[in-house]
């Protein structure tokens, strides 16, 4: 009886599920959905990570340790060690954000000391082999206002803090670099130092330039000898007569006290070396753009002059004192990845074969290379640590598919010619097939064979634009750099914190037209706008660099293409005149004038203006202002203006309520979120968020958070906004969400016009505690918008969290009775599941941005995280509902099907035999 009862109960439980239980199950299923973790064997299968360090500021060869390596400190406030042979990172320590490493030293003595920050300066001692921190201590700065004049010098385990004091002398305070113990303070007399004096450190001397005419003096103060008098050398003794100012003093890199003086508008320079105790000017002109380095070889001092002309690098070595050229050590080479390099560190040990020099070069494009005599050993593309713009582009079709495309792309529709074409193309296909079989076919395409679109559109190309003006094409499967190119004379837009704008004008789907990307930037010299168009797959320039001749104020991509499928770029110049690039798109732009609006937001004045193009003609595009409003800069500062992703599609137009009615979403594609932070005593620590319709200029909604502070990270998508901030009162990070609804009826079911919609939406809101610090947020995007949305959150601890939007749904009910389908009851804290960290143990540092892109599969979204590290993966927010699982058992299903088929045939036969027998009875 007992087992029977048990089975009954089991069946009853299974089949007669109460509605309540069903809802719980849905919720539970939703929670299990979160666990999108990888299996161990999937590690690195869909994702890759690349580590970078940034542009190097200090470097030195570690020749004392057993494992030879290169120690660098970078602009990104990173200290790292590279493998000498491969250039791989042995260890990397990412220091505090926004800090600067002031000096790095002590490598020659077997320990590594770094000084970073200002008030107070933080001195750290590092273990060379492992990069572990050994000691850390702060130095309180006495004169905080002169922080930029402070110089640091590390020598023999002592750290010297050097501060010139006006009209008096130089104060040198020495500390034990290991313990932080203050050893002594001394003052070297140098009464000539004033506010205008330019001083550089050429240890053990402080070299200062006094005066600006031909009577100018270079004064050398010995820092560690209080009795010594400053030694002076006149400019005339260095240059002889006839040198023109202004002069510029520079310390020559290397261990020796050598300084260089530029003259004649940086046309030429000469050096002043301190040999023995005496400053000796070298009477030889050096090109003004040459970079210098002094390396000592067997107690001989060798000057290395690096010049770069027309792609050729020349490192000329001369004996420092005699100026005798040393051809054995001089190098001339040409390499594409070296552009205007500077020797950051150099070492020339004597080996059995003779002297081989190793130079660590830092190029203008931020790349780091190791040069061993005249051979480039490795190069690191450190520009990728400062990506400013990203696009992810589909790869083109394979040659065979393209041939089919061309076949059907013909204009004429004559039966005979079509038939002929069919025959010829099939012959070609057959030929190609046999060629591939026999493995003798010539590769017709100039592109790599694997760079073609795959079945599911998962293999794509990442176009990354870096602040160094270097562009990269990175394929997504392995993260391999396919192409790179540098635009030397451009820079990012100054007011946009040096970012550049990248547009995809034409995708890869319009064969035979090549895909086209356009980069908008500023000219380095004039500050005027430039457009650079290129093929994103090959990196080949299309129109090349076009100088626009005006400053770009704002730009947008037109939503309609020209006849050759090219989307024009509308550019608003600084005088509010509108241009379109390319010029051939002007007709399209003019025809779209009535429906095209452009808005600008000025961070300094707080003015937001909207422009309409409705008066444009095919001859001239005219933008006229249709609205203007002012977020007074006295009260607030605009920190972010966030629009929706223009390629976003929303599948579901409403939300089903518990009473089965529909709450329609307010999906306004022209809605923009403007975030401001309060300024001044009264409004400090307030955060304002305004929702603005940029077509009509109408404010839709505004909200104020008090006692919170930034940085604010905001995601704006569909009909919702999610933003994270730091709550000062609660001392915690919070995430607030807003959701906009039109109401239970849609005012217009077919079209959305911002001008016709005057009814304000219903705004649902909720806030959650987020138990981690946020670096960046971005939402996932898929092709049709059917898949539910997740938010990709970069955490400060290096994790990338995939947070279902359902978790931050503002309609999560606090009251358990009012439950809707698929809505989790409210909990004030959002739990962070370790399973939802999509980069498992591949931590990424200093995330600057996350780019999401739809794949060919509706379920799958591609995620590219950039910052100091690059990380790429793919996520499936609603799980991969449109593909079979990786471990799907094909054999089993085939066997089962076959067995069923066979057995059905056999039984049929048997049944008919039986029937026959019965009939005979």
């Amino acid at each position: 009886m007992a087992p029977f009862a048990w089975t009954i109960r089991g069946n009853v439980n299974r089949f007669f599920v109460d509605a309540q239980i069903l809802q719980y199950l849905i919720v539970l299923a939703g929670l299990f959905n979160l666990s999108l973790c990888l299996y161990e064997d999937q590690v690195g299968k869909f994702d890759w990570r690349q580590n970078y360090v940034g542009k190097i500021t200090f470097a030195s060869f570690d020749t004392v340790s057993t494992a030879k390596k290169i120690i660098v400190a970078t602009e990104e406030n990173v200290i790292a060690a590279f493998n000498l042979k491969s250039g791989q990172i042995i260890w990397r320590r990412v220091l505090e954000k926004g800090g600067h490493i002031r000096t790095l030293g002590g490598v020659a003595d077997g320990d590594l000391i770094s000084v970073s920050g200002g008030v107070p300066a933080i001195v750290r001692a590092w273990d060379l082999a492992t990069g572990h921190i050994l000691n850390e201590w702060p130095i309180a700065e006495q004169n905080t206002d002169r922080i930029k004049d402070v110089k640091w010098h590390i020598k023999d385990g002592t750290l010297h803090h050097i501060l010139p004091i006006y009209n008096s002398g130089v104060e040198v305070t020495s500390y034990d670099s290991k313990t932080g113990e203050k050893l002594k303070t001394r003052r070297v007399s140098a009464p000539f130092i004033s506010q205008e004096t330019e001083c550089v450190l050429a240890a053990p001397y402080l070299a200062c330039l006094k005066g600006d005419s031909s009577l100018a003096l270079v004064l050398l103060v010995h820092l560690f000898d209080t009795n010594a008098q400053p030694q002076s050398v006149t400019i005339n003794t260095i240059f002889g007569a006839g040198a023109q100012g202004p002069y510029k003093l520079e310390s020559v890199l290397g261990e020796e006290p050598v300084i260089s003086i530029n003259a004649d508008n940086d046309q030429r320079k000469r050096i002043l070396a301190v040999i023995g105790e005496l400053p000796i000017p070298i009477q030889r002109d050096i090109a003004g753009d040459a970079t210098l380095y002094v390396v000592s070889i067997d107690n001989e001092k060798v000057l290395l002059e690096t010049t770069y002309k027309n792609g050729k690098i020349e490192i000329a070595a001369t004996d420092l004192s005699s100026s005798a050229p040393l051809p054995d050590l001089s190098v001339t080479l040409t390499h594409t990845s070296l552009q205007s390099p500077t020797i950051m560190a150099s070492v020339c040990p004597r080996q059995t074969k003779g002297i081989t020099c190793r130079h660590l070069l830092s190029s203008q494009d931020h790349s780091i290379s190791l040069l061993q005599h005249n051979k480039l050993v490795w190069t690191r593309e450190e520009a990728l640590a400062s990506i400013v713009a990203v696009e992810i582009i589909e790869l083109p079709m394979s040659d065979r598919d393209q041939a089919i495309e061309t076949e059907f792309d013909q204009k004429e529709r004559d039966v005979l010619s079509m038939f002929l074409r069919r025959i010829t193309s099939q012959i070609n296909q057959a030929k190609a097939f046999f060629q591939t079989i026999l493995d003798l076919g010539p590769q017709q395409s100039n592109q790599r064979i694997d760079l073609v679109r795959d079945k599911f559109g998962l293999h794509k190309m990442i176009i990354a634009v870096t602040s160094a003006g270097k562009l990269y094409g990175i394929e997504t499967r392995k993260g391999e750099i396919i192409w790179q190119l540098r635009l030397p004379n451009i820079r990012g837009f100054t007011k946009l914190s040096n970012t550049m704008i990248l547009y995809v004008q034409r995708g890869s789907r319009h064969f035979p037209h090549p895909p086209q990307c356009a980069l908008l930037a500023e000219d380095k010299e004039t500050g005027e706008g430039v457009v650079y168009t290129f093929n994103p797959i090959t990196g080949q320039p299309l129109d090349g660099l076009v100088k626009l001749g005006y400053k770009i104020k704002q730009s947008m991509l037109l939503h309609v293409t020209t006849d050759d499928f090219l989307r024009g770029i509308l550019i608003l110049d600084a005088r509010n005149k509108v241009h379109v690039y390319p010029d051939s798109a002007i007709a399209v732009a003019a025809s779209l004038g009535k429906s095209t609006y452009l808005f600008t937001a000025d961070q300094t004045t707080g003015i937001l203006s909207g422009f309409s193009l409705s008066y444009s003609t095919t001859q001239e595009l005219i933008a006229h202002k249709v609205w203007e409003l002012l977020l007074s800069p006295r009260n607030q500062k605009i920190t972010q203006v966030v629009a929706k992703n223009p390629i976003e599609r929303v599948h579901s137009q409403g939300r089903v309520l518990s009473d089965r009615s529909v709450l329609y979403k307010y999906i306004n594609p022209n809605l923009v979120a403007v975030v401001t932070e309060g300024i001044g005593h009264a409004h400090k620590n307030t955060l304002n968020l305004y929702l603005l319709d940029v077509v009509s200029g109408a404010m839709i909604f505004s909200i104020t958070h008090k006692r919170v502070r930034g940085p604010i990270h905001i995601v704006h998508s569909e009909n919702w906004l999610v933003y994270g901030y730091f709550n000062e009162k609660g001392r915690r990070t919070e995430i607030a969400t807003l959701e906009l609804y039109e109401g239970k009826i849609q005012s217009n079911t077919t079209v959305f016009s911002s001008l016709a919609t005057t009814k304000l939406p219903i705004v649902e809101r909720q806030a959650f505690i987020f138990p981690a610090s946020i670096e960046y947020m971005q939402e996932t995007i898929t092709e049709k918008g059917i898949t539910s949305k997740h938010i990709i959150v970069a955490l400060a601890n290096g994790g990338i969290l995939e947070l279902p939007w359902m978790m931050v749904d503002p309609r999560r009910p606090t009251n358990p009775e009012m439950r809707e389908e698929g809505v989790i009851p409210y909990m004030p804290e959002i739990p962070i599941h370790m399973d939802a960290i999509i980069n498992y143990n591949q931590s990424v540092s200093r995330v600057m941005g996350i780019h999401t892109s739809p794949s060919g599969l509706e379920s799958t979204c591609l995620v590219f995280v950039h910052g100091l590290d690059l990380f790429y993966t793919r996520v499936a927010p609603s799980k991969t509902f449109d593909v079979l699982k990786e471990d799907f058992d094909y054999y089993l299903i085939v066997i089962v099907l076959a067995a069923l088929l066979i057995s059905s045939y056999i039984t049929k036969k048997l049944a008919s035999q039986k029937a026959q027998k019965q009939a005979w009875k």
Partner: protein, 178 residues
Amino acid sequence: MTMTANSKQSSKRSKWALDFAHKTKQDKSVEIPSPPGYTPTGSLFHNVEYMRESDSNHLIIKKSWDLALGPLKQVPMNLFIMYMAGSSISIFPIMMVGMLIIRPVKALFTLQQTFKVIEGTHAFGQKFVYFLGQLVNIALALYKCQSMGLLPTHASDWLAFVEPQTRVEYSGGGFIYV
């Protein structure tokens, strides 16, 4: 058949009764009784035939009224099933509700076949009543579906077919670059 035979037996009592006691000499002239089951006269046969006809007609009507009223008689049963099925969406209630709907619909489709044998003055009325009864059953089943929320009567049921609004205006912009 059995019923008609029984009724015949009751009406013609003498048919199976054989009187052997009264067999005398004077009766010799009288013919020996017919063997059992033999009826010499045709008129009797006629009578029986008529009787049988009217009787069966009556029965057919009765029977067909039974048939016609069948669906209506099912209503209380269906109500009970509906009550017992509950309102949760799980396999048994769904099966029950499915049966509730499918049975009357099937019956309606086979209405002509069901009433093929029935002719006569009442046929139309019977058909109509039968039809009505099935309609009542369907209505009940639909009501059940409605109460279980299986009918697409709400806006939310059609939400998947709502097309996204096409946008009239296009906009772009952001922070100024210079």
